[in-house]
Symmetry: C2
Subunit: 410 residues, 2 copies
């Protein structure tokens, strides 16, 4: 998951895992409450807030059908500053027309009024079924309660992470301390994912917080880079959604911050942990597949091949069946635009080589089955053309995935 | 499924469905026998032969990982002539190296020896698991038996169609008589499909026969056009395989043939029937979805949007659940490169409008559920931008699909 940082002369930063999530960063408060948007009555409204407007950046879906909160956030983050992020589950507020947009704008204004900041210092994220109008009254009415519930402790960060869950089965949080010769900072984060995860972000929401002093274009670039090597290298179903967003709030209060490169390493580390948690909790997933494509002419080539394999429903169903059907891996790569020589390809599942020189290698079926047992599965594809490599994480495609997605709105 | 033919001044040809398949064409014999390649012992070797070398053309997979029979056929059809097509199930003979290639070449030579023609007048198709060596001895030993079994009756055509089945549950055959003011000809065909069907041909094999006098570049072009508007507009799982091939043998014996445009209409009609049969028999499919995207600026736009929807596993699982989750349709279109205005989109399932102006339309859930019941489902997306349209056929993604694909080799 690395390769993007530490490529300069600077020594690699030390990354120390911390407990908690968004509130692990000093000066960040969070809340998670039930606003009545989920029919289950479970928590569905999260708020993450700094003590004043701070540096902010966002990476959002490139889907041309984008949700109202995506439109509002795009406008509000344009100045590179924000105080708070309001997130809701229970409605994506996508394909909801003018009314959805007005409700989104009014929700930002409501947060601003309660916090005492400008409406354009409030960013928005929504997740849920597309096309379902967001229930305006309970949504807006709950906002003052969410502001009143803001706390800076780990429990508050956990409550916020739980409030954005949809088909997620576990809340997703991560935090690290990043240290180098210059100093240290904290990066915290929370995310929801589970379904519709694609290389280009998909029905995933993520809020990162840090006390590092990155701002403006530098913060935006660090965030984009961190996303590219983490959320950009996972796949659950290859679908890009209408609501995807990764937002970072950077307070800049760290007394002795590390270098910008180290901050980015910290952002990347938190994103990597959240990305892995998303795939592990992918809808119906029984296996987390770590696919390493090596021996490629370039990292782009390696990534293109890895993506073709990770998005293949035939590969993903074969893996759900514990089946070392390496021919489907070659077929998926062959259908991609990346050129390679099939007769130089080797495929390993765990330590078991199942294909060498593009043809079947004699292997022990029991050993291959063990390497493909539910849990973590390592697959390595060596294309025998060079030194570049890339790794993607993806989940298998199970009956349970079909059940979840066949019954999601009904 | 049309629009490609009859665009000139010529009157549309009359297409009369006929019984049978490849042997409905005069002068074509076929056979289907058991060579012992399928563990079940079911028929697995098919042969289709003309009485002498005739005009031939092929459309093959563009996957850079291609099977040995694809390589051999490419060479043998280069001169635009062939006498016979040998097809086997039970092994794809893909990713099988030099040995696989030698066996494929030897099988062509064996057919040629038994028929009394040149080896390069024999074309090859294989289907089955990738990477499994084709059992050389039983395969080659069965070929004289297949030649001896050649008959020109409907039963022989049916036997050939059955011998190429893998996960297909029914044999796929079609035939038509094409007539216009100039004369008439017959087009017959057989295919296997069921899984790995993608817009660009996938684990599908198809042999067409006709007594029309088309040859050379004209035959190749007619075949490509017929494929583009039929096999090119279906999707079962969006995966392009290593073995896909559509081959036509054109004897040219029709006494008074119709115009070339009419012949192409006949090829297209047979391909359309076989394509629909493939989707209907798609692995685990409970629904055949006929998706019409209309109101597009161009046919390419309409097709691009239709393809994005047809390939979306989220759309396909929602339909498997009978769920009018139109938001996933918009999200899939929005992630495609085709530009459109989401606020002008309308979506209908059957006659029930579920989305209008890009937002939910009030609809009767019971009527929508009825329109999405198992069987044939019509979905119409109007993008409100122009007059062009395109139709794609796809299957829903069910539990049964996962079961079939998780257990295919084991």
């Amino acid at each position: 998951m690395s390769g993007a940082v530490g490529t300069g002369a600077a020594p690699a930063p030390v990354l120390e895992p911390l407990a908690g999530g968004v509130t692990t960063t000093p000066g960040i408060r969070a809340a998670g409450i039930a606003a009545g948007l989920k029919p289950s009555g479970k928590p569905d409204l999260a708020l993450v807030a700094a003590e004043e407007p701070v540096a902010a950046a966002a990476v959002q879906t490139r889907n041309q059908v984008f949700a109202a909160p995506v439109a509002v956030t795009r406008r509000h983050v344009a100045d590179g500053r924000a105080r708070a992020v309001l997130l809701n589950a229970g409605s994506a507020n996508a394909c909801t027309g003018e009314e959805g947009l007005r409700t989104a704008e009014d929700s930002a204004a409501a947060v601003a009024a309660a916090l005492g900041c400008a409406a354009d210092d409030v960013l928005l994220c929504s997740t849920g079924v597309i096309g379902v109008p967001i229930p305006r009254e309970p949504f807006l009415a709950a906002i003052p309660r969410a502001v009143a519930a803001l706390r800076d402790d780990a429990a508050a960060g956990d409550a916020a992470a739980r409030a954005i869950m949809t088909t997620d089965t576990v809340p997703k949080k991560a935090a690290v301390r990043v240290s180098d010769a210059s100093g240290s900072c904290v990066v915290g984060g929370m995310a929801k994912g589970a379904g519709m995860l694609a290389p280009e972000l998909a029905t995933m929401l993520c809020v990162l917080t840090t006390d590092a002093p990155l701002a403006g274009a530098a913060l935006q670039q660090a965030l984009q880079q961190a996303c590219a090597t983490t959320f950009g290298r996972i796949s659950v179903d290859g679908c890009m959604s209408t609501n995807d967003a990764v937002i970072v709030l950077a307070t800049g209060t760290a007394a002795q911050p590390p270098s910008p490169a180290s901050v980015q390493a910290g952002l990347e580390a938190v994103c990597a942990r959240l990305a892995e948690a998303m795939v592990r909790d992918g809808e119906g997933a029984s296996r987390l597949v770590r696919l390493r494509v090596c021996g490629a002419r370039s990292e782009d080539d390696a990534l293109g091949l890895a993506r073709a394999v990770a998005d293949s429903v035939l590969v993903r169903t074969a893996i759900a069946g514990g089946d070392p059907n390496w021919g489907r891996i070659l077929a998926a790569m062959g259908a991609s635009p990346v050129r390679f020589d099939p007769s130089r390809v080797a495929v390993r599942v765990g330590d078991v080589t199942v294909c060498r020189g593009g043809v079947v290698a004699p292997f022990d079926p029991a050993a291959a089955a063990a390497a493909l047992a539910p849990g973590d599965v390592d697959v390595t594809v060596d294309v025998g053309a060079g030194d570049a490599e890339a790794t993607m994480l993806f989940s298998d495609l199970t009956h349970e995935y079909v059940t979840i997605n066949a019954e999601y709105t009904t």
